[in-house]
Symmetry: C2
Subunit: 172 residues, 2 copies
């Protein structure tokens, strides 16, 4: 990673690192939240009739794991999770991963992504992701890898808003 | 705003515009959500014992209105909203703004912020916001205006995750 001085001299690096930093913060906030309560709390629905907290963690892992192929870094680390989150698949909580397994996957995924993020050149962040065609990208260059990163950062916030309801007293 | 060609030639502009675009998208998603149901639906709590949807919209307006002073653009447009969201203030839903009033404020705020965003030079986005000292900023240049924008974008996602519960059938 660049030093502070390098960053100040390079506004593109600074802009991208600001976004990567926001990503890392959301990652940590989720890890902290899943360390906060006793394990059985995460088997509760975040609100009546809604998803269990441990299901949302699995969903976030499966979703962010998809960044590896989407950003051109390689295959998913945990394709075995897909069956729990893909539509129309049969599964039960009897064989759903345990909280320690999920937390371990979350850490492993984030350390793997960090290595790829650090190696990606600045102009790589502004290049197209793997699910947009060259033609569509030339029309809309905002469909770049940085946009994907920011979108997934917002997506973590989205589910953090739901997970906040595990706390009975949360106000806003 | 820059054209696509300008953007491709200027990676800093592209990076910042990618973040501003994500901001705009969350703005629109919220506006769309508050057009989706009959007005009385937004008087429901998003989950039992949680905030009403129209309260969350007011909170997002008051929060994003704070960007005007925080980013050095000027005073808040709607300081009269603060009493509903500041801690330890007395208020009741009897005089809480109506949904049309809140929606109008949301649009007015976003068009005002857009004008300021368009005028802010690229290096302005990487400058410090008004609540960090020069000294602290020199130690951590990621405490810049762009970081504030991304943070508030995530914050909209956070409450959108809660507002999604207005839909009884939302899955994930």
């Amino acid at each position: 990673m660049e030093t502070t001085k390098d960053l100040q001299a390079n506004p593109t690096a600074m802009s991208i690192n600001t976004a990567v930093h926001a990503w890392q913060q959301q990652n940590k906030t989720i890890a902290t939240l899943f360390d906060k309560y006793d394990a059985e709390v995460y088997e509760h629905e975040v609100a009546p009739g809604r998803n269990r907290a441990d299901y949302l963690l699995g969903h976030l892992i499966a979703s962010n794991d998809g960044l590896l192929p989407l950003l051109g870094f390689g295959d998913k680390l945990f394709p075995e999770l897909d069956k729990y989150f893909a539509p129309n698949t049969e599964w039960s909580y009897d064989d759903y991963p345990t909280l320690p397994e999920l937390k371990q996957k979350w850490e492993k995924l984030n350390s793997t992504l960090s290595v790829h993020f650090d190696k990606l050149p600045l102009n790589g962040w502004l290049g197209k992701h793997t699910r947009v065609s060259e033609e569509d990208f030339s029309v809309d260059p905002l469909r770049n890898k940085l946009a994907v990163l920011i979108g997934r950062t917002i997506h973590m916030g989205y589910h953090l808003g739901q997970l906040a309801f595990l706390n009975e007293k949360v106000a806003i």
